[in-house]
């Protein structure tokens, strides 16, 4: 957990996150991430062998809260026209994006 983040790491993670960092941004992020990761390395002091990860806290309130699924029935969704009205580019039925497949 003490691995040093390099510029290449930041560029790889940015690619995974669909972020295009400006040339001056990337080196700053390297510094920030290393400072933060150095700090979180404190967790290594704790022995967590055998501790079950806690992904969500509802189970702590009551056992029934651990799994809540509604009945599998169709319910009304948002109005399509209203949703499309908020889109940057649309033909009112679909969202429009640049061409993905060349013919």
């Amino acid at each position: 957990m003490t691995a040093k983040v390099t510029l290449q790491d930041v560029e790889r993670v940015a690619e995974l996150a669909h972020l295009e960092l400006a040339p001056e941004e990337a080196p700053r992020m390297v510094g920030d991430l290393n400072a933060i990761l150095d700090y979180v390395a404190e967790l290594n002091e704790l022995d967590t062998t055998g501790v079950e990860p806690l992904a969500q806290v509802s189970e702590l309130e009551s056992a029934e809260r651990a799994s809540v699924l509604r009945a599998d029935v169709q319910l009304p969704s948002l109005d399509r026209g209203a949703v499309m009205a908020a889109a940057p580019e649309t033909d009112q039925v679909f969202f429009k994006v640049p061409k993905v497949i060349e013919r």
């Binding site: 991430l33 400072a35 290594n44 990860p53 806290v57 509802s58 309130e61 640049p98």
Partner: protein, 488 residues
């Protein structure tokens, strides 16, 4: 030569209580429409200086006020928040009103539906004045990460209001709303409430529906109220709480009458004071005020005893791994396709995603997405994300053990009073530490209230955090009422 002294600009003005407003309305002393108009005048007067509201929903507010006035004129029973002017943090959606989440990437977006907390407030008669400024996607502790400029603290405009719900806290402190809604992921209701001298509530995880909340970290996000006093905050929570089929994480537990719960005396309640929250890093003036508050609780008949939460020091690292991992997933939806900002010059779909996100997100949001993506990436998942989730369980179980012995835990809400604008913007880690006393309850899913508890010599408010076990908001309100009554 006389030394230059800078006058502190102060916009603090306490709103009337819900009971006073109701008496005015029922007695015909005021009309809801006039009250709304008065609040819009106040907003027009002070908003240019404080930057609290990002948009106003006048048409909707005035229509609602007219409905309330029509009910009152007929002598019909009025709903619990009839005519109460309320502001809404701009991460909760309101049909037809801009929803920016403090980000450029949602500029121009007008969602087609209401968040459940918003529609519940309106069904209870509240008049929704507009949307309140906040840190971008609720990521920040000072409101300086808003793409629309920082909010200024009404107590001292050279200082931050706290964050991320800085606008929600400042709106109540400056009487630009009687109450407001905010959200709290790691302290985003409690810390700004403390910095601005108002009451803020962290409900139990799942107590209030998040339907219509623009998500930051889904295992941590909560919606809660701000108000000028504890009883009113309790009333507001009663209105917005409850199960919602549209939010699978909302709790089916019955909602008690929180205001009535808050009226109960505190005599005999056991209050724990954890030494870990009074260690190095706590400002001496904050400590002195909190100690006075604890003395007030003793005088009111509480049994005060020391408790220990030894994993507290691991809470910030745990929080920043869990929250950023979840954020990196939640914020993947902002890609310039379905809503908000789209970068104009993109020839490919991949370019459209990247350019829209690069141009639309601010620095802190990018930093957290990168950290979260890194913590979840192949080879690092076990070392970071899984490890943090394991420590999260240790932190949560520690609270459950302590709550077997005490009814409530009291701590400072923040290690310092409000800091100056720009003071921490260059150092992300220093900013994260502003949440050191609040992230623990966020990770454990328990509830809490922050209540004003004195002020520093410079007049800056100090807040006391009262924590209680899952679903025990009533107990937290009772203890907070006693602190309020002690008038520290």
């Amino acid at each position: 030569m006389p030394t230059e002294t800078k006058t502190v600009e102060n916009y603090v003005e306490k709103p009337k209580t819900l009971a006073e407003l109701r008496a005015d309305l029922v007695g015909g002393k005021v009309k809801a429409a006039d009250l709304a108009a008065r609040y819009y005048d106040r907003i027009a007067e002070v908003n240019p200086r404080l930057n609290v509201y990002l948009s106003l929903s006048k048409e909707r507010a005035l229509a609602q006020a007219a409905r309330v006035d029509a009910l009152a004129a007929k002598g019909d029973p009025l709903p619990p928040l009839a005519g109460v002017p309320v502001g809404v943090k701009d991460v909760l959606v309101m049909k037809g009103a801009p929803a920016t989440a403090g980000s450029k990437i949602l500029k121009g977006y007008q969602p087609p539906y209401d968040a459940t907390a918003v529609s519940k407030l309106e069904a209870a008669g509240a008049v929704l004045l507009g949307k309140l400024n906040c840190d971008e996607f609720a990521m920040g502790s000072s409101n300086e990460n808003s793409a629309y400029g920082p909010v200024r603290n009404p107590v001292d405009t050279e200082r931050v209001p706290g964050g991320s719900s800085g606008g929600s806290a400042a709106a109540v402190a400056a009487n630009m709303a009687v109450a407001s809604l905010g959200t709290d992921t790691g302290g985003s209701i409690r810390q700004p409430a403390s910095f601005c001298g108002v009451v803020g509530v962290l409900p139990t995880y799942g107590r209030v529906s998040r339907y219509g909340l623009i998500a930051f970290a889904s295992s941590l996000d909560r919606v809660g109220p701000f108000a000028g006093n504890v009883r009113d905050a309790a009333t507001l929570l009663g209105v917005i709480a409850g199960h919602d089929p549209k939010d699978a994480t909302s709790s089916p537990a019955p909602v008690p009458d929180f205001a009535a719960e808050s009226d109960k005396p505190v005599e005999g309640l056991r209050v724990g004071v954890p030494a870990e929250y009074f260690a190095e890093g706590l400002d001496a003036e904050v400590r002195a005020n909190i100690e006075k508050g604890i003395a007030g609780l003793k005088a009111a008949g509480c049994t005060v005893k020391p408790v220990s939460l030894p994993h507290t020091r691991y809470a910030i690292p745990t929080y920043y791994l869990v929250a950023t991992a979840e954020a990196s997933a939640n914020l993947a939806r902002f890609d310039g396709v379905r809503y908000g900002y789209r970068s104009p010059a993109s020839e490919t779909l991949a370019g459209l995603y990247k350019n829209s996100r690069e141009e639309g997100f601010g620095a802190e949001v990018k930093r957290r997405i990168l950290l979260g993506t890194y913590a979840l990436s192949a080879g690092y998942y076990d070392a970071y994300y899984r490890k943090a989730q394991q420590v999260r369980r240790l932190l949560a179980e520690e609270f459950l053990r302590v709550f077997a012995d005490v009814d409530a835990i009291v701590t400072p809400t923040a290690p310092t009073a409000a800091f100056k604008l720009g003071e921490k913007t260059g150092d992300p880690l220093a900013m994260y530490l502003a949440d050191i006393y609040t992230v623990t309850a966020s990770l454990a899913g328990i509830c809490g209230v922050t209540v004003p508890c004195g002020a520093t010599a410079a007049g800056l408010p100090v807040g006391m955090q009262v924590l209680a076990a899952h679903l025990k908001e009533g107990t937290a309100f009772r203890v907070a009422r006693a602190v309020e009554a002690a008038q520290i």
